[in-house]
């Protein structure tokens, strides 16, 4: 099986995630970008697991999904809390924690 296309797809997805994370201000979009990066990794895990006939990568992708779900729970609640006080979901407005 040729995995090349999957790897290229994963790299494209990851690059989109990174770019989105760096250029967007909306916290929700940032989250989506992060999820995109995580899922590109998942895709690689699954691809290589299938290529080598090894289940370890499949298991790892499950772990990543569980962690991502947990992270979303915590992250979204923080974003909601910030939105309530600041009336904005822009990450550049939440910049109090600095020098």
């Amino acid at each position: 099986m040729n995995s090349e296309a999957y790897v290229i797809l994963a790299a494209i997805l990851f690059a989109i995630g990174v770019l989105g994370f760096l250029v967007r201000r909306n916290a929700l979009v940032l989250f989506m970008s992060v999820e995109l990066m995580l899922n590109s990794c998942n895709l690689l895990f699954v691809t290589f697991a299938r290529q080598w006939g090894n289940l370890d990568g499949q298991v790892a992708s499950f772990f990543v999904m569980v962690v991502a779900a947990a992270e979303v729970v915590v992250g979204l609640s923080i974003i909601v809390a910030i939105f309530r006080t600041r009336r904005s979901a822009s990450v550049d407005n939440a910049n109090l924690l600095k020098f």
Binding site: F21, L22, R25, L30, V91, A94, K98, F99
Partner: protein
């Protein structure tokens, strides 16, 4: 005179095994009075006096025991315990009771007990009485350690102990800035002397591997002349500090700020004579170094003249006596510097001086007691009728110190002057002049205090002191008179084995010699001159103006303080200031500079924490990129 071997100590028996009690009793009482606090206020001074007297009783019993022995058995070494054991070093603490140390122990505890009794009266109304007696007992214990030690290192322990007691007692009235400063001065000047003492002990340890008297005496002959001289000079420096000899004399006059019983006990009779003891005890060292011996004699001669000079010019009764103490100790040092012929006479004069000077200091205290603590003799006058006991006992001390025939000082001082003439006529001549000056200033003191017309301040009504004060005066006046007659024939033979000299074979009556007669005439001339200047006319109440440089120098302690300040203190302060400046600019600069560097770096780095999540993200990604690059490059290489 030939040099004999010093006695080898024999093992202790009977009471000698308990000789340490002499030191322990006053020490324990001192600790008790200091630690138990107010509980002992009511009776503490009585316990302290009892402790001193019991030490005297022990010393007297040991003395009687020694008297009954053969001359060869009179040195008893009492081992106590191993003090320091380190590797191949073992320093044993022990006591040496021999003819020399037992005389000192008797003097210290005997005069010390009388002064304790006197102080019961003198310090009766002082709020710090308990503390005072505790310090006195501490002093007795330390001084006994000094003279009874069988080892220079143990001796040094006592040496520092008496220095501490002296400091505490000089600045006893510490609410007076002058007293606090005087105590500090005494302490600092004594440190200089202690340095010499330490160097001597170090040298002994390096040369002999031991600092015990026995080993040092045995090894002295094997020393090279250079090291013998060095040890001699180091010991002399130590002696100069403790005995207020030139050039370390400046503290003694200020030490008169302490209560008068202290001046009598520590700064006249006992502690300041420790230097003489040290030199006499180290006679085996000095036997092998003519240079150091001559240095001792010269220091003594210079001091005896300097002290007498200062004594002539002072109006403060205690400072006259202090100058006189310096001068008399100068005589002792001169005698000790002469060598084996002089050792016994140094100790002889030390004992008689201990009696008559303690007597006169206590007499001065009695006068001050009656004159509301005024020490200026220009405010005295005509006190002989109002203080009969003080006057008579003081007169006995006066006759003893000037060397009136048959009084104690006559014997002891004449011996020193005669021996000095035989040894070195120049030193003898100086000692002779000193005797005349002594007669002059003591006559001046007597006339200004007890004779002439009343010059009292208003509201002062002199009265005789209570019996608890004048009885010790009487008890001290008696030996001031008779000590010479009693001891003259005996002391030379008694001390001979301990100081490695031959018995000079003297008798109770003075032997007539040309120098003795000349000395008596010079003394008479000095006394006459004193009367001529101060006995005939009224004494001015204010210090008269003078352009006489000699008198100005005398009033200013021969500019000893000015010398110390300009030659030692100011350069010292300059060095300190320079070192401080270097410390502040260079060392602190380096330390604080590196701290500033770290701070600045941190302040710059802090800017990275800008609060923008996306810039953190960029940082992470750049970092990730770098790590990836490193991995790839690492793989390629």
């Amino acid at each position: 005179m030939t040099l004999l071997d010093t006695l080898t100590p024999v093992a202790p028996t009977g009471l000698f095994t308990s000789a340490w009690l002499m030191i322990a009793i006053p020490l324990v009482v001192a600790g008790l009075l200091l630690l138990a606090g107010k509980v002992t206020n009511a009776w503490g001074h009585l316990v302290a006096t009892a402790a001193s007297i019991s030490a005297f009783v022990i010393a007297a019993l040991l003395f009687v025991d020694l008297l009954g022995r053969d001359a060869g058995q009179r040195a008893v070494g009492v081992p106590l315990y191993d003090w320091i054991t380190a590797g191949s070093w073992t320093i044993k603490a022990g006591l040496l009771i021999d003819p020399l140390s037992i005389l000192f122990a008797m003097l210290i505890t005997g005069v010390g007990s009388l002064i304790h009794v006197y102080a019961i009266g003198y310090m009766a109304h002082d709020p710090g009485r308990r503390r005072f007696f505790a310090y006195l007992n501490l002093f007795i214990a330390a001084m006994l350690t000094l003279v009874l030690a069988d080892n220079y290192l143990v001796l040094f322990l006592g040496w520092e102990g008496v220095g501490l007691a002296s400091y505490l007692l000089i600045s006893f009235w510490q609410h007076k800035p002058s007293a606090a400063t005087a105590g500090k001065k005494a302490f600092v000047v004594n440190r200089v002397g202690d340095l010499g003492m330490l160097m001597a002990v170090f040298t002994m340890l390096a040369m002999f591997g031991s600092s015990s008297f026995v080993d040092v005496n045995a090894g002295a002959a094997s020393l090279t002349p250079f090291w013998a001289t060095m040890i001699g000079i180091f010991l002399l420096l130590g002696a100069c500090g403790k005995s207020a000899q030139v050039p370390l004399q400046s503290w003694l006059l200020d030490a008169m700020e302490g209560p008068t019983p202290v001046s009598a006990l520590i700064h006249a009779a006992t502690m300041v004579t420790a230097g003489v003891y040290l030199v006499v005890r180290s006679h085996e060292i000095y036997a092998h170094t003519v240079t150091a011996q001559l240095a001792v004699a010269i220091v003594g001669t210079v001091t005896l003249l300097a002290g007498a000079w200062i004594g002539c010019a002072k109006d403060d009764i205690k400072k006259v006596l202090a100058g006189s103490t310096m001068s008399q100790i100068g005589y002792m040092m001169l005698a000790a510097g002469i060598g084996p012929e002089g050792y016994a006479f140094a100790i002889f004069h030390l004992l008689t001086h201990g009696f008559f000077k303690a007597n006169m200091f206590l007499g001065a205290g009695s006068v001050m007691h009656g004159m509301h603590d005024d020490v200026n003799m220009r405010h005295y006058g005509a006190l002989r009728k109002y203080m009969p006991y003080t006057f008579i006992t003081f007169a006995m001390g006066y006759l003893a110190i000037i060397g009136f025939p048959m009084f104690s000082g006559f014997y002891s001082k004449d011996h020193i002057i005669e021996t000095a003439f035989e040894h070195q006529p120049v030193l003898g001549l100086c000692a002779l002049v000193g005797a005349g000056v002594t007669a002059f200033y003591m006559t001046r003191l007597m006339l200004m205090t007890f004779f002439g017309e009343k010059r009292w301040a208003q509201g002062v009504h002199p009265h005789e002191s209570p019996a608890v004060m004048w009885i010790p005066l009487v008890l001290l006046a008696i030996p001031s008179v008779i000590a010479g007659v009693v001891m003259n024939a005996w002391i030379g033979a008694w001390l001979a084995p301990a100081v490695g000299a031959e018995d000079p074979h003297l008798h109770w009556y003075p032997h007539l010699s040309l120098i003795g007669i000349v000395t008596t005439l010079v003394v008479a001339a000095g006394a006459f001159l004193g009367w001529w200047l101060f006995g005939r006319g009224p004494i001015p109440a204010a210090v008269p103006y003078t352009s006489n440089l000699a008198i100005i120098a005398g009033r200013n302690d021969l500019f000893g303080d000015a010398f110390n300040e300009n030659v030692l203190m100011k350069p010292g302060q300059a060095v300190t200031a320079a070192v401080t400046a270097v410390d502040k600019s260079v060392i602190d600069g380096a330390v604080e500079g590196s701290a500033q560097l770290a701070l600045g770096f941190g302040a710059g780095l802090r800017r990275v924490q800008n609060g923008y999540v996306r810039s953190y993200g960029l940082t992470m990604i750049v970092g990730l990129f770098v790590i990836g690059l490193v991995l790839v490059v690492g793989r390629l290489v």
